[in-house]
């Protein structure tokens, strides 16, 4: 009995440590008072004023576009990199290639950001929206490559051989057989890339320019002038979006599992 109580306490403390800060943020976003530390009653004011805060809204829009585009580019490049790593067993410089794919994972963000900045300065590119996209594509594609690679390792090559054998040329085989089957991994890779792009502050702030302020940069610069409840409001919306995404994914997985079990039963019932 005491052991159970101990377990419960440890668990509660652990979760509290993780989630109390977030709960505080969410609760204070509904605070009527302007002061962050004083509760002044329930209000949706900050959500309304958030909408009319042009700077904040612009930043949110920039972040969404950067996220969508860089995640898409990162996913395409990352998937190609994964295919190369898994499918071509031996080619000169493979070690170097795979090492360089994974390098951004362990590279400090400051270094990645700074080196990209130096590159853009050296080749004389004006920093702005597209340089942030290029920077984000560079650092998200390695995450996509890892996710897709692990799926490809368990992919039955004979499926592709069967398609070729039935008269389907290689490129068509990729789009009709390989891609549909690795699609779940590609989509998770995309979501990971999108999330990484969404909350990146360091790399974006090195490579951004006028008119391309992302939400994290905006929030960070505003917080230095003091936390406003508007920030709490927009953060609450972000948390809600992420939570919905996680719930949707887990429901999808659960359904697929149920379907798989039903299929197995069906196959067993009909016998041979």
């Amino acid at each position: 009995m005491t052991k159970n109580r101990l377990d419960a306490t440890v668990l509660t403390l652990g979760f509290a440590f993780l989630y109390i800060p977030i709960i505080i943020l969410v609760v204070y976003s509904f605070n009527a008072s302007r002061l962050v530390t004083v509760w002044g009653g329930f209000s949706l004011n900050w959500y309304v004023s958030m909408w009319s805060n042009q700077g904040l809204m612009d930043a949110a829009w920039v972040t969404a576009r950067v996220g969508l585009l860089s995640a898409t580019f990162g996913t395409i490049l990352g998937t190609l990199a994964a295919l190369t790593l898994v499918r071509y067993q031996k080619f000169p410089g493979k070690m170097l290639f795979s090492g360089m794919i994974y390098a951004p994972l362990v590279m400090p963000e400051v270094i990645t950001g700074l080196s990209l900045l130096l590159l853009f300065v050296a080749i004389g590119v004006d920093r702005g929206f597209w340089t942030v996209i290029i920077a984000h594509t560079t650092f998200t594609m390695c995450y996509v490559a890892i996710v897709v690679q692990s799926r490809l390792l368990t992919f039955d090559r004979s499926l592709e051989e069967a398609a070729l054998d039935l008269g389907c040329p290689p490129v068509k085989t990729f789009f009709q057989i390989t891609l549909p089957l690795i699609l779940p991994a590609v989509i998770s890779g995309w979501m990971l890339a999108f999330t990484l792009s969404l909350d990146d502050l360091v790399i974006a702030s090195f490579n951004t320019g006028p008119g391309a302020t992302t939400l994290p940069i905006k929030i960070y610069s505003q917080v230095r002038l003091g936390v406003t409840p508007e920030i709490n409001a927009i953060c609450t919306i972000l948390i809600a979006l992420v939570t919905l995404g996680v719930i949707a994914t887990s429901i999808g997985t659960k359904r697929a599992e149920v379907r798989r079990i039903r299929d197995e039963h069906m196959a067993l019932r009909t016998g041979s």
């Binding site: 039935l166 299929d263 196959a267």
Partner: protein, 385 residues
């Protein structure tokens, strides 16, 4: 299970006719993977409408040979001719061969009918024609009511039939089957073997099957190539392979056999004419009536199949030749057959198989009995390789 049988199996032996032209020809094929030689300077002819087996243990090169015909591997040396034309360099999607994969390789995201239609769609056939052909194939493999199902909703046996239907849908000139029945249980496997033979006869196609299961190869094939370490040991009909293996390897690989090592003491056979070959195997005098290259003093193997060995408690009239005396060491009861392991005085074991023709539970010969084993001169076989 009610079955409709295909046409009666006709006498078929184009390989004995010097005028017939091979349909597929492997010409001095060598395939190396790095330092490993998978196929070693192999030449083989396969004829149209033949049901041909490549038989051997894993790693003998049989699958590599088949994959070279499908176009997934290119030979390191030599060439492959299909209807007289060199097909080297032709990619798999342009070859008139189709393959049934060991894993079946059904597309999991497509229904049964879409799987079968996949190859037909690549040829840009009209939709009506594709539908007719898919229906035909579903009927052939008796899966009409499963057309809309996904592969995951089928049992192993049904999946195997979908794979077969898919590979047959394009009416390939040659159908390649890679261990097609390996994943099925024994009973279903036997049933399917006969179905495969029916389908091959009905459609009049050339089938090339890769298997390590000698029973399967014996049942379905017109001819079998027994392979070992990248070379072909023997190519012959199932009966020839079983009754007249050309080497210790083939004799041992196919079925059960007693092999006695010995020295030739006398040969009556002139070149080209069969005669008596006597062999002394550690004091046991054995003989075979056959054409033989070996001469007196050669070290050879003498082989005899257990079912050709008679077992008796009574001493035969002539014990000077093809007669062994020993103690029943073990008995294997297989239902249709009993196998007796008889231990001779020098410790060697000779096996004799006897059909269980009566329903006796207590057999007259039992453990520890002293018995005589005898066999006729034409039952034995001298193997020089």
């Amino acid at each position: 299970m009610a079955k409709t049988l295909g046409p009666v199996k006709r006498k078929f032996s184009p390989w004995t006719d010097p005028a017939s032209v091979p349909f597929i020809r492997f010409e001095n094929i060598t395939k190396r993977f790095g330092n490993f030689t998978a196929v070693d300077n192999l030449t083989l002819d396969i004829y149209e409408r033949e049901f041909f087996s490549l038989l051997g243990p894993s790693g003998c090169g049989k699958t590599t040979l088949m994959r070279m015909l499908a176009g997934f591997e290119e030979p390191t040396e030599g060439r492959i001719l299909l209807q007289g034309k060199d097909i080297s360099g032709v990619p798999p999607y342009k070859r008139p061969t189709n393959m049934m994969f060991q894993s079946y390789a059904l597309f999991p995201h497509m229904s049964v009918e879409k799987n079968i239609a996949f190859g037909l769609k690549q040829d840009n056939l009209a939709k009506g024609e594709i539908d007719t052909r898919v229906e035909e194939m579903l009927k052939l493999v008796k899966l009409e009511q499963f057309a809309k199902r996904k592969p995951a909703q089928l049992s192993g046996g049904q999946r195997q039939r979908v794979a077969l239907a898919r590979s047959l849908a394009k009416r390939p000139k040659v159908l390649l089957l890679d261990e097609p029945l390996g994943a099925l249980d024994k009973k279903l496997r036997e049933e399917t073997q006969f179905e495969l033979m029916d389908i091959q006869q009905t459609l009049g196609l050339t089938f090339l099957i890769v298997t390590h299961d000698q029973e399967e190869a014996m049942t379905v094939s017109d001819r079998i190539a027994v392979m070992d370490k990248g070379i072909i040991m023997q190519v012959a009909t199932p009966a020839e392979i079983y009754e007249a293996p050309n080497s210790r390897y083939v004799a041992d690989f196919i079925g059960d056999i007693n092999i006695l090592e010995g020295t030739v003491t006398q040969t009556d056979s002139a070149l080209g004419a069969p005669g008596l070959v006597r062999i002394d195997s550690d004091g046991l005098s054995v003989a075979a009536e056959q054409e033989c290259q070996a001469v007196k003093g050669d070290h050879v193997a003498y082989a005899v199949r257990p079912e050709k060995v008679r077992i008796s408690q009574e001493q035969p009239a002539d014990t000077s030749l093809n007669a062994a005396y020993g103690e029943v060491w073990d008995i294997g009861y297989l239902g249709d057959f009993s196998v007796f392991l008889v231990k001779m005085e020098d410790g060697r074991i000779v096996r004799a198989a006897q059909a269980n023709v009566s329903r006796l539970v207590d057999r007259p010969i039992t453990f520890g009995d002293m018995v005589w084993l005898t066999w006729s001169r034409d039952a034995g076989l001298v193997l020089t390789r």
